[in-house]
Every structure is written in C-alpha cells, then in structure tokens.
Symmetry: D2
Subunit: 388 residues, 4 copies
C-alpha cells in the first residue's frame, strides 16, 4: 500500500464545492428522467449535499443557483446549512431562462434587457452579502445561431460595459468569476467562448474578476491542463467547474471519461501552487446526473478528484525535472505515469478511517438508510430541476 | 442571368419532405422559447406545411412523428392534408421519451422493454398502412453515458433481432430507414453511431431496409458527401434528413452553416443518379427553429436545397472529367467552384413565376396575412413541442 | 499484489507484432531528427526488434514495409530473423512514394497507374510466399485535396476492381487487411476513410479480406471500442495497428495519450473473443518514435498493451453483467473502473520473472549494453527512415 | 452585373503579401512531390511572386523565410525585388529545423539553446533593418509529445524572457507578430497554442508586439471570425496568415475549403476597420501547393481573398443592423447571405481591366508563356523546399 503521509497535509485541505442542482433532475433536450428521492426544495438539496460531505469530508460548501434556489430568507438558509455541517458557497447567476433573454442578456443590443440582467446580478450580490459567499459566477448562454444574426463586435463592448457595472458592486472580499464555454446553447457564436475572452474581460475589470474554467467547455483536442497552467501563471484562475465529457458538454462525473486528463489537470494545479493554503483557486463540481443516482454520483465525483489529486501529488518532481532537463523523453514520461498508475485507493481508505470517515463512502452510503428515507419522504411535490 | 432550362426537368421533380415538428417549439436543455402562432395540433402543423408548399412548390409531403402527432383517425388526417394540397409522408418512430426507455429501447437487455418498443414500431406500420406512407424512420436515442454501463456487443445483437422483427412486418411497398447519429442524447456510446453500423444492419435485413443520412450526425471533419456517394453506390441510401450544424447536432437551417458543403452533397446526389425519377432516395428536412420564425425558416430551407441543387446541376461534368483525368487540380476545382459561385437566384425566381409561384416566397409569405392570422387564431391551448 | 493466475493463460498467448519502420527515423513535415544507433538496414531493424522480444517475450514477429525493407533474398532474411528468435510477419505495401501515385494508386483514373500499383501488390504477395507471412496490409494514401479534384464515386469503383485483382492472387492461407484512415496525407477526401468503407469493400471481396483498424485513424470523438466490438461481431476485424494520438495521426506510443481508451479497447477485444487461441485478430504496433528512443519506445509500447490487457481481463464480467442488467449505472461503471485502477505492474513483473524474462524490461534494456553497442557500431551509412 | 463602385476605394487598397515558400516544393511527412519550373533560389521565388502581382495587382510584397531565403546581400535582394515591381515584406524566423531545437527553442529549459534561438531572431531583425521590413514573425514549433516530457509552466516563463529580449531589439517602426498554432509538429502540448496565449504574451511585451492569426491553426468548431473581431477590438491583431483546411493545418488555398468562412472573416475585418488605410493589420498568405501548380495556386488565392472581400463589403450594414436590433433572425441572416451569394466575379473582372490588369488573371497566366519558360530554364539544380 502506497504511503500517503508525505501528501497528507494537502489532502487535508482539499475541498470541493458541490452544486445544488446536481441533486435535482437534469437531462437532454430529448428527455429529463425523474428519480425517486429527488429534492423538491433547496433545503432538501442542501441536506443531500451535507450527506456527501458527512461521508467524504470533502464537500464542505454548496453552490446555489438563482433563481432555482431562491428563498425568502437567505440568512435562515445559511443557518440551516450550517446545522447540517456545510456552508453556502458560490452564487450562480442565471440569465438564460427568461423570455426576454432570447437574444442575449449582458450582451443584448437593447439596454433595457441588459439592465434587467444587471438587476439579476445585483440581486445575486445581495444574496452573497447575506450568505457570506465569496464568488459570483457568471456563465452566459449569450450568443447567436446564424451568421449575421448579431453583431459580435458590439456585443463584446456591451458585455464589457455590463461586467463593469457588476464589478463595481462587488464588496472587498467578493469576486466575480467569468465562465467561458465553447458552444451550447448558442450554435454559431458564443459571446464568451474561450479562456482568452474571459481573460481579456477580467483583466480589463481588475483583480476581483477571475476566470472560471469548466473542464467540459473546450473544443476537441484542446489541452486543458495547459490552460490551467497558463491561467495560474497569469494569476487569473478563479475557479474550476469539474465534470467530464466525451464530445460536447456532457456534464458527466469528473474523471469518468478520461481519468488521465483529470490527473494531468490536478498535476498542473499542484505544480502551479493552487493547492497551497494561500491560493484562492476554488474547486467545484458542475455536473448532471441524468441517468445515474445523484447522491452516489456526487460521492463518486469528489472521490475521483481526491484520488487523482493524490496521484498527482505523488509525482516525483525532482526525478521529473532531472529527466526533463536531460531530454529523457521516456524517462520523464515514466515518472509521470508511475504516479498515475499507482493505486492510491487503499491508502486513501485508511486515511479516511484515520479521520473518522468511512473507508468506502460509496458502500457506506449504500448501507446507510438515507436513500430509502428520502425515497419515502419525498413523495409528491414538484421535483427540482433546471426549471425551478 | 444564368439559363436554367437545361436543368429544369430535374428542378421540376425536386421535392423535399418537411417535418411536422419543425412547426412546433423546440430548444435546448437550457430553454425552449415559445412563439406566437405555434400550432397546437397536428392539423395546424399540416396547415403550416401546406403554406410552405403553396409558396414554394417544393414541399408536397409532411412527415409525422408518433406519438407527437397521434390522432384517432389517420385516414381523416390524410384527407385533411390532401385538401390542403399535401400528403402525409414518412412516419417517424419515437422510443426515447417513455421512462421505460431510460437504458435503451430496441437494444435494451430486457426483452420486455424491447417488446414495448417493437409494439410502437408495429403501431407506426399500422399508421403507414392507413396513410400510405412509404417509410418508417427509426432513429434510436439508445446508448450509454458511462464506460461499463452497458454491453455494447450484446446490444448490437439485440438490435439486430429487434430490427428483424420490424422488418418482417413491412408491406411490399414499405421501407425501413435506419438513421445513425454520432452522439446525443447518449454521451459515451450510441448504438447506431455511424453509417457503417446502419449499413451493416440494413444489409443484414434485406432490400427494404435502407440507411437514413442526417447531415448533422457526424464527427467533426467527416466528409459527408463521400458517405453520400458511397451509400448511393452501395444501393443503400434511403433518405436524407437535411439540416446544418456548426459543432453538434444543431438542427439549423440546411445550408446555413456551410453552403458549400450542401453544394458538394447535392453534387454527389446528382452524380450518383439520386435525382433521377427512377431513384428512390427521399429528401427530407429535420430541423429545429429555436430562435427564428418557423414557417419562414422552412421556406428558406427548401429554397436553400433548391438553390444548391441548381448550382450542383450546373457543374460542367464533361469539363470536370477532362480536368480530373488530366491531373489538372486547379482546373477541376475551378469548374466545380464556377458552378457554386454562379448566382442562380434570379433564374430560379423567374422559373418559379413561370410555374405560377411567387418569385420570392419569403417576401410573399411576409406580405401575405398568414402569420398574422395564426398569431391571432392560435391564442390559448398548448403549443406543440417535442413533448406532445 | 493482484493475483494474475486466473488470466495467465491469456497473457501467455499475447503477441504483438512490431513494425520494422519503428526502429528507423521518422518525423513531421517540418523535421526528421536523427538519433545514434538508428539501423541502416532491414537486418539491423530486425535485430532491434529481436531485442524487444528478448526482453519482453511479447513481440515474436516483425512486420516489413516494401520497398523500405526490400532485399534480394527474403528466404535468407527469414532465416536471419529466426536465428534472432523472431519471424517475419505482415507485409505492408506502399503506393504513396512514387511520383506516379501523385493522384492515386489503386483508385487512379488511369488504368496504367492502377496496374503499376497492382504489380506492387503482386510483388508483396510474392514476398509473402517466401516469408510465409499471413497478411498483406493495404493502406492507401489515395485521396484528393480539393473539392472537384477527383471523382469520388468512380474512384470507389476502380478501387473495387483493383482490390478484386489483388484478392484473386492471395493464397489459401493468406489474407488482405484493408486499413482505413480518416485523413492525411489527403486533405479533402480519402478513398478509404472509415471502417464502413473498408467493411463494404472487404465484404464484397470475400472472407480472406479483412479490416485493419489503426487506433489513430478516426475523427475526434469517435468511440473506437464500439468499432472494435462491431467488427468482431461482423467477423471482419483482421488486425490492429496500435498507437495513440491527441489530435491527428500522431503515431505516439500506444496507451500514452489515453490509457483508459486502450483499456476499453482491450476489454472489447477480450469480450469479443479476439484473444482466444482460435481467433485470428492480429495485434500490431504502428508507431513513430520522433523524439524518444526507439527500442525503449517499442518496449514500453508492448508492455502498455500487456498491462492494459491484464487490467481488461481482470474485469469481473459476472458482476458487470449483473449491474448492467439491473440498470445500476454507477455499479457497472465501478466494476469496470476497479479493473482499470488495479495496479498490475508488480504482478506482471513477477509473472515475467517466472518465465525467465527481466522483471523490468525497460531497466534491463538500460542496464544492458545494447544501445551503447549499436551507437558505436552503426556510425556512418544511411540511417533508415521512411524514404528507404 | 453588380456595381462595385461603392467599394472600389477599399478594393484599391487591398494588398496580400505572398510567402516565398509557396513557390517552392512542399508536402506531407509521406512524400514531397516535385514539379517542373520550381525555383531553385530566392530570386526565382521573387520572380514568381512578381508575376502574381503583375497579373493581379494584389500582391505587392513578398515574405521571406530565414534561413530558407538566406542571401549574402539583402540590400541587393531588395533592389532585385523592386526592379520586378515588388518589395520584401515580413521576415519569418525558423527555429525548428536545427537539431539543437529538438526539445524547444525560445522555450527550451537550457539557456544555451534559448540563446541560440535568440541569436537567430536578432539575425532576422538585422535583415529587417536592411530590407525595411516591418514585421518579424515568430512561429514556434516548440512543444512536447508526451505528458511529463516538459514543464509547461516553466516553458511559459522562459518564453516570456526570450520574447522580451527580442522585443528590446525591435526598432521604432518594427513589430513582432507572434503566431499561435493549435497542434503540429508537437502532439501533446504546444507552447503557443491559442490566441489567448499569444495575446497574453504580446500584451506583456508592449504595443510593438501583436498577434498573428493563421486561419488554419484552430481546433475544430472554433469560430475564427469571433477571434478576428475580438483581437481587432483589443487592438492586438497584427497580421493574418491566410489558407484553408478541412481537418488539420492543411495549408490549402484560402477560401477553397470553406468559402463562407472566409467571407465571414473578411466581414469582421471590414467591420472592425482593419481595411481602413489607417489600420495596420497585415494580410498575408501562408500556403502549401502540394499537388496543384504553384503560381496559379497563388493567383487563385489572392483572387479568392479579393472576391470574398468584395462580397463582405457589399453587406448592407444599415439593413443588417436594423434586422439585428429588431430580433429578426432570418432577416439579418438574409442580408448577410445576400452579399455572400452575390456573384462579384464579372464586376471584378471589369474593375481589373479598368486598372490595366487582365480581366481573368488565371487565363492570362495560362496564355502567357511564363510557365513554359521557367520549366525550360529551371532544369537542374536543387529545387527549393522547406529544407533549403
């Protein structure tokens, strides 16, 4: 069994925020399947998230999505979460489900529409002021479907103006993280399609504006870990949205589609110092469990991040550097792969037990009665999904 | 103005089937926008389709989708359509929206599920027997999201068995067209992902089974016109689902994303003899008008096919062959491009007028009162969409 | 340490053919770097291949490429190989480096060019008759760069005629394996671009014609293991060309770019029975070591195939089937991943030792003096590469 | 015939730099075909380029590539060019063909290698000082083939340091244009893979550093015209390398693979003001004529840019804005497409004649005796290619 004591301090600090919406229903344009036990309220989502944290010790915060998680009293919601052992995290804005946003939100040619979207952003900041959340996440569905439909250039200018107004509302300890996405739901052009665009905008705004990197939002063949390394180097990587994909933005369990890619990403995260306590790079899941069970899906996800982080931390950096600098291609690659191929699962199980956690959180969840309880308790009502 | 008389006989025969669902609402997993005037019933969809045919002379048949277009009496529906000047065409089956199909339909490991899907296919054939439709279209959403989730190999065997049963029910003048799709809604594997799979299955079934090629269902970089040429050569191209896309299965207006690709496709269609009266290759649209107006979207679509067909027919085949055989790369390319760059729009306008059609169907639609009428008439009720 | 005894019989039979050209220089259109010790002759290539087999026990045969490996006396060459403990394997034809093939070979519009290419194929069969090789591999660079440059449809017909003639020359125990490739060196269209095309042609020829699947020859996002499963099911998978890639046909070390993909491929190979002694699916490398050392690169490659085969064989098939049939997505995925994450390296090392092989072939090669010897011995002369 | 008088002033200023290497041989890693009449010297390349300019009036400058175009006396070369009616343009550096650059040049871990690459850049600037060239183009082949092979993060720092040193050598009227490329010749990671990286580096350097956008250097599905619009907006678009591609960096004739994409790009160029006389965005070809004739290939290329520029300029910007701002998706798209579909060829022919140029430069070239003369004159010697 591999000895993890060297890397234990970093593992100790590892925290992965979970998204409230992962516990609700999701699907494709063809069909959204429902499952028993699905939360009807944000409180039930938080309870599920708290169960994930209870069993893994890895998920101490829950991201909210407004308006899907809208409540009357966010202070109360915050207290509710804390009683369950978790806190409220990133506030995710939504300017893509109102009819008025059909042709854009922060990028719309009509100032009235942009103002409505701005009001929503301000509302999110108000919520952050109550919940104590650090990050306002802005992901825009804005874009066009047909060449000529919109003026791409002007939309960038409108976007800058809009973001500037939001930025000015941020408190001293608050940040804006601007997510980019290659495509979907817009097909021809997306207003924030790549890290370069997000970087250019956040750079123009100031140091409280950072880039959010969603691992599923890139063109085929893109070397994502390079972007991770680059953004850390530029001091502009604010947060991750973890998931995995085969072709489009599949939002599958992180590490499921290409575990080696996750390893390479976590290596660059560690290499760049983003796992240091002083770093402020936030790790978060953004996934959809369309077919699989949701709570176990989240448990598996945070464990995947933990396992690949452990492997990445096991890379013998000195040996790697020596091989790299001597032009020993196969030697350097072997040092790298040796860490990836090391089976850390037993070591992590033991380490979990040493912290009073179940050695096997998946088994512990299956053996516990939680799923049966919620299946029974959550009969009736409107299951949560993307629409509400 | 280019002289189209040489190609007029082929233009005369050009017919593009329109899908009933193009007139209903559609969207992405993020949002389905509604528009005024959207049909509430299949009769209203057919009325819209008839308007497209009235203005263009290009769309004499309407494809139905079961159960979205389910009615009590298909004979009556057929008569309704004929009164409006169109006929009912391909019957599109749907085995992806029932909860039982969560893990597959014709490919499911459980025979009970496969039988339910088979019953649906039989129901579709029953409808065809009433409507006189030639083609049963089978597009399967079947697949898996995670490696290991299903047994890809066994699923092929189950698929073959299922298709065999459907095949046996086909009447003498009926065909099955098996559509393939690269990805979506399944993310890891799709049971009919490529033309090779569709070809292998339809070949095993017999001559009444053919391949349906949807122009949006290929991996990036795929040379679609090669597949068109190959399937025509193999005698296995049954039908087209026309649309266009930038990255995924965008279902945009055919010719909108890459007009030159549509030209190349239509060239191979003509080259392979599939525009001959004796050919039985069916041309059909399969599109979604998420943001744009639906009826004008369909008018534009059939006109795009017409325009690119005209350009493709203008290729000087003799000059092309001469250049090809002499290894004159630039010369051959120039012959090809000359046809593509020829502006056929004025010629087609005149040709339309000569047949008693509006020279500019888009303008004629805008000037006519149809949209205003349906906007007013179709207040209330449940707008049609993919769910109903 | 994982117990491999259950899977030992299959490991025992595992054999991976190595390509002679992997030991020569290769590169990109920008630069071919040379390295010390590179063979100048086919005999030196075979000696290097024999060293790989000596240290791994995995590579008993060497593929030749004609004309790169042309010699006067193939019987003598065969004896030379056997003295070094290996035998000559697949004969790879080459119709892409003669000026006459600029616009095609077996697909050329000019029968004289096709005949020249046919003569080359016959020459390869003559060599096979001497070496006792089973497989004639046909990979065609044929295609066009510009739309209109060639007649795709006629080229398919010419291809069929050409292949038919080659097929008729095959001896009773000989096979033709027809390789497909998505793109390169032709940019617009490739005459055998996908498995469907290779399948259609080999099906038309007969049972001695099979498909060769090169793992680097697919469009982005293609599920290669599905094709593996399908071709095995159809009885048409003749052989593999193993390598790995990030974007194009990188020809990197198999398993280097996406080890999980190699695992999934080997799982379908095992699942489909293609590792059974009765199977005739040939495993072969087709790689280029542009930057890394060549002999260690080949050792690493065959070990990667061995390691991933071992992992794939460790999948608990019964547990997997149970989970699949009960719709337990996460459970089935976990069974699959458990095998992938199992560290088989120590077990394989022990198993190697039990067969009299070095536990660590990479270390054994580095410690042995072979590289030093060839670096010294192979001074001067013309290093082998793709041109000779 | 369309009236081009409105756009004539812009057409009048249109100038497209041609690359000296387009006149030499090029190919793929599989084969470089030779053609009669191929230049042996830089003077012969310049003569060919001058012929292109003579017939089209579009190509007044020729880019050089060092060391391929190395001469003793650049002042003399400059005079030679001017006598033929053209001037020397961009100096393209090359740090990818020396053995020392096997593992990198400006990004190499070894300062000695970086210094050698720097010396080459200084040499290029020295040449610029003589030729009066404005731009030093830096395209780096730097990258790695295997995960772990190099330290991506440190290489960025070394790159910055190297570029800083080059930047400091630039004269007041000189610029550095930093080209990015998605992949090739490195397969795993490329040190300047995307516009974001090039932007970040050139921003850090200062206003004399700009981004070079090669239209063939993007991942599949990338919206290139968006990047064009963004870089113009950010004031960082220095120059274009025009070509076209189907999958990889095919270096085909610009506009050949996707004419509509070239139209969209030229629209954004015009929209952003980059065709204004005050703009300093340089248009340049970077192509390889592997199979087609080279001089006609270049003539076709500059004409393609001219034709698509004309179409882009014909877009009715007022009508487009009105449609965009009213949410008229189909209307806006139609305005856009109307310009694309307008056949400008006859108008341009007339406009050429009015300037004393041949109406049809391709026909004029074929009718003139130039190709015959060079085929005869350039017997013997070493044809120019990428190696020399």
């Amino acid at each position: 069994m591999v000895d993890l004591s060297r890397i234990a301090p970093v593992l100790e600090n590892l925290a992965i925020e979970v998204p409230s919406w992962a516990y609700g229903n999701s699907g494709t344009r063809f069909k959204v399947f429902q499952t028993p036990g699905t939360p009807r309220t944000v409180q039930e989502k938080i309870a599920d998230a708290a169960k994930v944290n209870e069993l893994t010790g890895l998920a101490p915060t829950v991201a909210l999505h407004i308006p899907w998680d809208k409540v009357e009293n966010y202070s109360e919601l915050s207290g509710f979460a804390q009683e369950l052992g978790v806190t409220l995290g990133t506030i995710n804005s939504n300017t893509f489900q109102d009819d008025i946003y059909k042709f854009g939100s922060l990028t719309h040619s009509d100032a009235a529409v942009r103002n409505k979207a701005l009001d929503h952003m301000y509302e999110c900041i108000d919520i952050m002021n109550v919940t104590g959340s650090q990050d306002l996440k802005i992901w825009l569905a804005d874009g066009t479907n047909y060449p000529g439909q919109g003026d791409m250039r002007s939309r960038q200018d409108w976007l800058h103006d809009s973001l500037q107004k939001v930025y000015e509302r941020l408190g001293d300890d608050q940040r804006m993280v601007l997510e980019y996405k290659f495509f979907e739901p817009a097909f021809y052009h997306t207003d924030v399609p790549d890290w370069g665009t997000s970087y250019a905008h956040t750079l123009a705004l100031g140091e409280k504006a950072m880039v959010c990197l969603d691992t599923g939002h890139h063109a085929p063949g893109t070397n994502i870990e390079f972007i991770v390394a680059q953004l850390i180097r530029l001091g502009k990587l604010g947060s991750f949205d973890f998931n995995s994909r085969f072709y489009a933005d599949d939002d599958l369990i992180v590490g499921a589609a290409d575990p080696f890619q996750l390893f390479r990403i976590m290596y660059e995260v560690a290499r760049g110092g983003a796992l240091d306590p002083a770093s402020n790079v936030a790790l978060m899941l953004d996934q959809c469990h369309n077919l699989e069970e949701k709570i176990p899906g989240q448990i598996r996800s945070v464990m995947n991040v933990q396992e690949m982080t452990a492997r990445a931390l096991l890379v013998d950096r000195d040996a790697l550097t020596r091989a790299q600098e001597s032009g020993d291609v196969l030697g350097a690659h072997a040092v790298f792969m040796d860490a990836f191929y090391t089976d850390v699962r037993l070591g992590l199980a033991e380490w979990r037990e040493s912290r009073g956690l179940p050695a096997d959180p998946m088994a512990a969840y299956a053996a516990g009665g939680y799923q049966g309880t919620i299946n029974a308790d959550r009969e009736g009502g409107q299951q949560a999904g993307w629409g509400a």
